[in-house]
């Protein structure tokens, strides 16, 4: 332990803190309790100051106990306010948080007056965080807390999961939901408080919320979310300390965590903004293409099965197009159309696809008119909105429904009889 340089100690300490606050933060975020961490952090300040005044030294364990005491007092105050007055929980949290913090700032200013000896005590660290103050003892405390918290979460994973997801159901199975909830809250409180001197009262809540919220972008499983949040927290601690040299360390760590969050917000698969925009773009492109094919089918329908050529102007006039030229070009590249100069002709592939789309469109139109009671002149637009998203199974159902009412002569498209006997293949196999 003593062989470590200060930088190494700081990096180990901040990553331990990041890891465990990521893990306990998941439960807080999933239960909608993120602000409780914020309140605990702010409310801890007067406790820290009082503990210092009592002990006269900056012993992390002692200060943390002071912080814990005033944090618990704050939670009790919120509970009482919500229970006995008409104040709502968010307002109560706001009131208690700022009152305790105000008291803490006043105490801090008194301690720092010359003569009390507090100016050298480094209590400022509790405001904005100063991992550089880390002593060997602090590192031991962080390690112990991290191990205890992780063991708890590991052992009680199943119990925490069920209580977080469905408290009533958990209670009906006989789980002591209140006590499990308290264990979750207590681990949140302990992690928050040991983190205070490292990232500070004001920024600690970010360490609880950011890694968990970041992890949520990447997974739909709770255990993966816990691991990822722990990982993101560790990364924030490590890189924040390393990259943020010469900067206020607590702020650097939180900014690193925020950067990870923003990157995930943008680039996570499925839930990220880019992925969602991309999916939207693809859908729009598909819809435009389907409109084109259907328009061309309708234009050439009278002459079918002969494949007539259509000139650009006819297509242009048929309906409103956003960028007809490039749509046509895409269809040509996909082998659905043949181009010669300013005229276009279906390829057999294009015709087949267009016929299928038109069929789906008309089935849906008929359904809308007969069963939803939409006027015939409105039906085209309404059909357009939905038909592109209809799953194939529903279309088949629609087809059968209309067929059973005698509205459709042939349900199954003409399929030629198999040229060989069926089932023989299976029988001849060894």
């Amino acid at each position: 332990m003593t062989g470590l340089s200060l930088t190494e100690k700081v990096m180990i300490g901040t990553s331990l803190l990041g890891g465990m606050s990521g893990v306990v933060g998941c439960f807080a975020v999933l239960r909608g309790r993120s602000l409780v961490g914020d309140m605990l952090a702010h409310a801890a300040l007067p406790g820290v100051c009082l503990a210092f005044l009592l002990m006269g030294t900056r012993n992390l364990l002692g200060l943390s106990l002071g912080a814990l005491a005033s944090g618990l007092l704050a939670i009790a105050a919120v509970t009482i306010i919500v229970r006995w007055t008409r104040t709502k929980e968010d307002a109560a949290i706001g009131i208690v948080l700022s009152t305790f913090f105000g008291a803490g700032v006043v105490l801090l200013s008194q301690i720092q007056k010359p003569g009390v000896g507090g100016s050298k005590a480094g209590l400022d660290a509790y405001l904005f965080g100063e991992p550089g103050n880390m002593l060997n003892g602090d590192l031991v405390l962080l390690t112990v807390v991290a191990v205890v918290v992780l063991v708890f979460v590991g052992l009680l994973f199943k119990e925490f999961q069920i209580v977080c997801f469905d408290t009533d159901f958990a209670q009906s199975q006989g789980w002591p939901t209140l006590r499990l909830d308290l264990v979750m809250m207590a681990s949140l409180a302990v992690v928050t408080i040991v983190g205070l001197p490292i990232v500070g009262v004001i920024l600690m809540t970010a360490m609880i919320i950011l890694p968990a919220a970041t992890a949520r972008f990447w997974t739909n499983r709770l255990h993966v979310m816990l691991l990822l949040a722990g990982g993101f927290g560790i990364a924030a601690g490590l890189f924040g300390t390393k990259l943020g040299r010469g900067l206020p360390a607590g702020a650097a760590i939180v900014l690193t965590a925020a950067s990870l969050f923003i990157l995930s917000l943008l680039f996570a698969p499925q839930r990220g903004i880019v992925a969602r925009l991309l999916a939207e773009y693809r859908l729009r492109k598909r819809i435009a293409r389907e409109h084109l094919l259907r328009a061309l089918y309708e234009l050439s329908e009278a002459q079918l099965p002969e494949l007539i050529t259509l000139d650009l102007q006819t297509i242009q006039d048929y309906r409103y197009w956003r960028s007809l030229e490039s749509l046509l070009q895409q269809a040509v590249e996909a082998g659905e159309l043949q181009r010669s100069g300013k005229t276009f002709q279906f390829t057999p592939l294009g015709l087949r696809r267009a016929a299928k789309l038109t069929k789906a469109h008309r089935l849906w139109e008929m359904f809308m008119m007969q069963h939803v009671g939409i006027a015939p002149d409105h039906v085209d637009r309404d059909a357009d909105d939905v038909e592109h998203l209809l799953p194939e199974g529903l279309l088949i159902e629609l087809e059968q429904k209309l067929a059973s009412e005698g509205r459709l002569p042939d349900v199954v498209e003409e399929v030629p009889i198999s040229p060989h006997s069926l089932g023989a293949d299976k029988a001849t196999r060894p």
């Binding site: 999933l30 007055t85 009533d168 009906s172 499983r221 709770l222």
Partner: protein, 255 residues
């Protein structure tokens, strides 16, 4: 006389001193499908929650196969209202169904092969096997309801409480639930269902509990689900009960 699966004696339940159920007394014999029917605010959900020990009783007691709920937890399965949970929670369909086995597993033990087999079977029973690995948010309302049913099946109980399983579900889910109810009954289970649709009560249930803050009637559908009793259930609240409840509430000084 067949075995009594579920019995309530003289039960009163109050929220913040305001009584919502008065002096309920009822007995349900084993092997019945029981509809709990009554207007909004009649205390149907409260009745279930009281039976499961989720809300404290002001007086009276609840017995499951002759013993208190505490001793008979393993015999009880529960399907809460669908809106009661956060469907964006990071779990898959399979994870949720596995939760049904947690009660039997006890502290610290993780679900293993046998539990996963149970979950798989239960999902199959509600026709949701294909969705086992989906995140629960990606399901339709009816599918979510079926997941909750599968979770209750995984509890492998004798007595089931379902809170509005038919609310806002598609036709396929509705018939899946009805089939399931029949399967459960033929397996000798007793099922109590909070139900809103008066039209289907006769088709779905053998027994009915008519409730409106107090017990109006409880018994076989044929003799109990009568116009006269329905009139009593839905024909306006007993205003005296309402006023009395309000008076109790007002006595609390600070709220």
């Amino acid at each position: 006389m067949s075995t009594v699966a579920f019995e309530i004696h003289d039960m009163t339940v109050a929220y913040q001193r305001r009584p919502v159920l008065w002096d309920i007394d009822l007995t349900i014999p084993e092997g019945n499908l029981v509809g709990i029917v009554g207007p909004n605010g009649a205390g149907k959900t409260t009745l279930i929650k009281a039976a499961l020990g989720l809300v404290p009783l002001a007086s009276g007691k609840v017995e499951i196969y002759g013993k208190s709920y505490r001793d008979q937890r393993r015999l009880v399965g529960y399907v809460p209202q669908r809106e009661s949970v956060d469907w964006d929670f990071p779990v898959t369909v399979n994870d949720v169904v596995l939760m049904g086995t947690y009660g039997r597993l006890g502290w610290f033990r993780r679900p293993g092969r046998p539990e996963r087999d149970i979950a798989e079977k239960c999902l199959e029973q509600v026709g949701m096997s294909a969705f086992a690995n989906r995140q629960i948010r990606q399901l339709s309302g009816g599918q979510q309801q079926r997941v909750f049913l599968a979770r209750a099946l995984a509890q492998d109980a004798q007595l089931y409480f379902l809170d509005e399983p038919f609310a806002g579900v598609d036709a396929a889910t509705e018939s899946a639930i009805v089939d399931l109810l029949h399967t459960l009954r033929s397996g000798g289970k007793t099922v109590l269902v909070v139900h809103h649709d008066l039209q289907t009560v006769r088709d779905y249930f053998d027994h009915v509990i008519l409730l409106n803050m107090r017990l109006i009637a409880c018994g076989p559908v044929d003799t109990t689900f009568t116009n006269d009793n329905l009139q009593k259930t839905y024909g306006g609240r007993l205003t005296i009960l309402d006023e009395a409840a309000e008076a109790m509430r007002q006595r609390e000084p600070l709220r």
